[in-house]
Amino acid sequence: MNSDYRLTGFLCPVKCKSSIVQFKKDKMKLIKNSVFGLSALALLLSMNACKPKDAGSVVSGDAASKTYVAPGKYDEYYNFVSGGFSGQLAVYGLPSGRLLRVIPVFSVDPEKGWGYSEETKPMLNTSHGEVPWDDLHHVSMSQTKSVIDGRWVFVNGNNTPRVARIDLKTFRTAEILELPNSGGNHSSPFITENSEYIVAGTRFSIPLDDQNGDVPINTYKQNFKGTISFISVDKDNGNMDVAFQLKTPGVNFDLSRAGKGKSAGWFFFSCYNTEQANTLLEVNASKNDKDFIMAVNWKKAEELIKAGKGKKQAVKYASNRFDEKTHTATSRMKNEVTVLDIKDHPGLVYMIPCPKSPHGVNVDPTGEYIVGSGKLAAILPVFSFDKMQKAIANKTFEGDYQGIPVIKYEAALHGEVQKPGLGPLHTEFDDKGNAYSTMFVSSEVVKWNVKTLKVLDRQPTYYSPGHLMIPGGDSGKPTGKYMVVYNKITKDRFLPTGPELSQSAQLFDISGDKMQLILDFPTIGEPHYAQAIAASAIRENSTKLFKIEENSHPYVSKGEGETKVVRKGKEVHVNLTLIRSHLTPDNIEGIKVGDEVYFHATNLEQDWDVPHGFAIKGALTAELLVMPGETTTLKWIPKKAGMYPMYCTDFCSALHQEMSGYIRVSPAGSNVAISYSTGTNQPKSAVTAKK
């Protein structure tokens, strides 16, 4: 067990191959420098000495009582966790680690009809057409005065560049915005302290959308550009728009954070591949001793845009919004964006050298300290906002990068955390002036003091941690009770489930001097960043149902009296109602092969937690799951004459099994007339018997 654990950091499977190669390379370099080599050896030894005898012994006896939430009791926090390659957002309760909900965002979800119902299909529309999946990495909650305010959660789509907004009243995706001029949206959707903007920095530089992209790949240096999008967030309804974009040299933008307090007008982006490599990046983008943290004065960018300095550029991107009153999404294609070329505007952007392909860049709660995490570096550099401002004022530059001034490393540096561990990735903060950084290669989380830069504690994680999260830990008001670390490798943490395993999250109690591991829980997809908020801040605002009176869906049936079946050529519209425990109508005849049949199902219930489902045999789509007061549409094109049952899929009452009906499908040329009813289509014998 012991050796198994120790190997994980170095012999981990395919996923972290590149890090191993890089680490080996680093080790070679270190050996050349014998002094440094010895210290690295000492570091490795000291870390081994800190490692527990076995995984069980790090959990002390009171862990269970700290995470136990009794039946019927509520968790203290909502934890919104990115679902990675699932494309969805998971909601867990803390400290129990119970999965409360999976919110579908970028990927279709047949369970909820997301991306299958006619109303939700437009949400997944892009300039490329309907994309049924994405890779969701990062989570930012809306803030007011640098405090998480519980209104919206923003998330990024990494693959087909998009950002989405989830409404915390309904826990549903309310908006998805595509990003033009972007090759992959990784450095996103980090937020300013009053939710003025969320940002989106392209991971892959590309020829911009109005340029010919049909060029040799090895012309990266001439033809490829980076962009940073500033996306405005409407104060009242949260609606997003691309306010402006910054055009930058071609590099890879990795992560970012807004300043806060005194640095609130700035945004910081980590960049790698400043070598501008276009192939074998694991070697060719790791040559420079230092890459950069790019500091953007966004208040100045705002002024320049107001002064008309931006250039309009022709692009094409989708803006998709969901209307809660019509229960319907609309996708609009936009065709213009305003771009500022950073090299034309001195004073807008500065580069701060940061060792070895920085991954995370994190700003402490005071806004003074900026932590860079060079994922291949053996130190953690901490920069000072005040020193950076002074260096800018005194022009303490060491040169320029593609025309952008590069501040002298030492001039901006507050100090370095020495020997934090191997493979530093991300940092969060508590309410006591401490920082917590994940070490991917040495599989540990390290607590250190932001001012003194002294390492205070280190604890193993299982295994290879990526992001970590403290409620409020990236805001101006962090908490100091819980920390969750989201790991990339699971191995032996849970019962084996074949080659594919859930990834593990680990909850730590950080209220004492030492971090204490108190819970493991499995996650969906691959968790990257996450956010959390006290349950009390949003619990009471949760929508229980949609008021049927306010439903303005064009095909709503407000009562069974409004149900009908209407033929318009080959299109047939069925206005149908669902209530315990019948469908109205539940007998439908006159549908023909090849008809486009739209079932507009309205749930007439007005009580909490009474959804009805709706499904038809053979329909090439998913079910509908209709909330009380909502109208949702299933499209069906019958291909064969015959009898087709339909039924409610969500066990709704004692008579749920009775909640069903039939649709008769006749051949294309048939003259069976449209007819529909509930309760009256009796056998002829029964009718004559009554008479």
Binding site: S60, G61, D62, A64, S65, A70, P71, G72, K73, L545, K547, I548, E549, K558, G559, E560, G561, E562, T577, I579, R580, S581, H582, T584, L604, E605, Q606, D607, V610, S653, A654, L655, G679
Partner: protein, 160 residues
């Protein structure tokens, strides 16, 4: 040799138990889950005439308020008609014919606005549930909706 291994394992295991024993006893003291209210089956405060809810006294005139009844009809179409017929025939729930003769106005309005509590407490509603097997949902009616529905029920029962 084998015995030695077994013995050392046993010793190790006991040592382990002892080492961890201290934590266990302190565990049980911090149980907060015992503070649930104890409910009694008897319900002396429940008034079967009035039901339970916010309506204590409803003034009903001998003649019909036609305007209210018409508004009530609209609410019926959207929120009630899926389950109740206006005759004495049962659909999901019982037919409405005669309901205003069987029940007090306050009882009706309390039931349709405070549905869950009433089903839990009213013996007649519990008997009805055994027949219908579907708990009547709370349809989120406003106070005005409830009053208008009462008037519509009165109209259905022949009040002019």
């Amino acid at each position: 040799m084998k015995k030695l291994i077994v013995l050392s394992l046993v010793v190790f295991f006991i040592g382990f138990l002892v080492a961890c024993g201290g934590n266990k006893s302190s565990d049980n003291t911090a149980d907060e889950s015992t503070s649930e209210e104890v409910k009694t089956d008897e319900n002396p405060s429940y008034d079967p005439q009035r039901g339970e809810g916010k309506f204590t006294k409803i003034d009903v005139s001998a003649t019909l308020d036609a305007e209210k009844a018409e508004l009530g009809n609209k609410v019926f179409q959207v929120k009630c008609g899926g389950c109740h017929k206006l005759t004495d025939e049962r659909l999901v729930g019982p037919g409405w014919a005669g309901v205003t003769e069987r029940r007090e106005p306050e009882w009706i309005m309390n039931f349709i606005t405070n549905t869950d509590e009433m089903i839990d407490k009213d013996p007649k509603l519990q008997a009805q549930l055994e027949l219908c097997l579907v708990r009547m949902p709370n349809q989120s009616l406003t106070d005005d909706d409830a009053r208008n529905l009462l008037e519509f029920m009165r109209k259905n029962d022949g009040v002019k």
